[in-house]
Amino acid sequence: MSAWLPVALSVLGGWGIARWHRRFSGAPGVVLGTVLWGVVLMGTSLAVLDVAGIRWTPALLAFLALLAAASGLLARPPAKPSRRREWTWGAIAIVATAARALPVAAVPAFGWDFRYSWGLKAKVFALAGRHDFAWLTRPPDWLAHPDYPPLWPDLIASGVIFGGDPATAAAAWQALFVVGIAAACWECSASAPAPVRALAAIVGAWIPVVFTPTVAYSGYAEPLIAFGISAGVAALLRMPPRNRGAWITAAAACAILATTKNEGVALATALAIATWWTASRRAALAVAAATVGSVACWRVAATLHGVQGYLSVLSPEWVGTRLLDLPGEIRAVATPTHVALLVAWAAALAAIRGSDAPAIRTIVGVWAAALVAAYLTSPLKLDHMLRFSLDRELAVLLPITVAVGLRNARFPGRAAVRPAPDSAPAG
């Protein structure tokens, strides 16, 4: 139970910050805002305490979360208009989300990368009460990826600090991400009728691949990345010029992505570029600053301590050979799941139209380019990388892309209903 305490505290603190956030137009709803700020609050608390040289303790983390929760009581977010007609479909979405979140919460993480990378680092950090750079400089094995940004191990470590075990802590956080992804997809499809919004939420909760209960997926970082990019895209699509609440959401999402994993850095960069192309320059600067700042903070700290990781191989010969090998290797490792993911991607992209299309195409294009670049320049065997990561990479961005496609979808025989509330001030 103690592994759940930091998650519960983060939800409380996140709720408090989300109430302040909702004073700005374009801010996310209660559920998405609570999950988003809960993750940011816990991650930031641990990072700031580390930089300040203060050892992580349960009392300090609880104090900061309760402080944020209490401050939320002082905020008076503008009341949103009631949407009575959505209660039935909202309830269906909640039940479907719970049906996914509860099994995720019930199974302690056990994947190999969890055991020997994410969870191991969480144990080490929790024991040290900070980011243990001495350990990261000389890990027992490079499989531990000492150079990766630390948000996911930090979140797991919070459960260990409270006396829980890392496997249960990871499961608890991942159940929260299920809720967050579903909420982001629900909000993203705001302009659709309630049944379609419920479907979008279900697509989010039942994200393919990343919650597969096997040693190749359990407890990995992809659910956190999927949550970050889902929250970011939902914010980007509700970003008319003065929607400061949406900029702040996108910036927070980028901070989460950029401190989670190299793939997260690529997605945060994609979101920043899409913001530059499709929203205001000020919004783009805020999102870019959050991305660059988050990446720089970790990279500078890691470099100063001498932490190293796998180096990309940039020689033209290496890249050229792998480029030629890539199609054949993909065919060799492809499974029905890969094929189904690609069909879903094609259908989702075909469904997107209007003003949503440039933003989504930019994000997907940058993401795809980053993915190919990673496969081509990695020192690891290409078939190994594809076999153990391609389906996860294809899955993280899929639900929110499907939700964007559903924004303009209508069930046959039903007329279009109301305009999107996105651009209206939160009051």
């Binding site: 996914r100 099994p103 056990f110 190999w112 055991r115 020997y116 969870g119 191991l120 144990k123 080490v124 024991l127 350990w135 000389r138 890990p139 027992p140 094995d141 499989l143 531990a144 479907l199 979008a200 279900i202 697509v203 909760a205 039942w206 994200i207 393919p208 691949v209 919650f211 597969t212 209960p213 096997t214 040693v215 190749a216 997926y217 359990s218 799941t337 189904a340 993911l341 069909v343 879903a344 991607w345 259908a347 989702a348 075909a350 469904a351 997107i352 139209r353 899955a395 899929l398 639900p399 892309t401 499907v402 496609g405 559903l406 303009n408 979808a409 209508r410």
Partner: protein, 128 residues
């Protein structure tokens, strides 16, 4: 065209949800959730190793590189409070004062068994 896009969105949603459900039925879901080497190294949890100690894990005789690599990572998972180093033989000239072994080899001269449980034995130097 508009209707086609709508159907395309529903198709994407249906496939995505179906893949989410299918992930629960993955053929590997019933495979063991703990590695085969877990039992071998599990007694290490009770080994008298001071926090922060530099400890060497001796490669297991006859085991492959991959097995020994994961054995080391499992040792780190069990005892993240000490600093682990993989070694092939007893480290005669290193900073390690403790060695953990999981097979039946005799210790090198200058080392003695100080603790053992199951197949896990802990050695310390008798002299430098």
């Amino acid at each position: 065209m508009k209707a086609l896009r709508g159907w395309s969105a529903f198709l994407a949603a249906a496939i995505s949800c179906a893949l989410g459900v299918a992930s629960l039925l993955h053929p590997d879901r019933n495979l063991p959730r703990v590695p085969s080497w877990e039992g071998l190294i599990a007694p290490l949890a009770g080994a008298p190793l001071p926090r922060g100690a530099a400890v060497a894990l001796l490669a297991r005789t006859g085991a492959g590189d991959a097995y020994n690599r994961f054995l080391l990572l499992e040792a780190a998972w069990r005892r993240p409070d000490v600093r682990w180093t993989p070694v092939q033989e007893f480290p005669l000239d290193s900073h390690c004062d403790a060695v953990v072994m999981t097979d039946d080899r005799p210790p090198a001269p200058g080392w003695r068994t100080t603790w053992e449980s199951g197949k896990v034995r802990l050695f310390r130097r008798t002299s430098r």
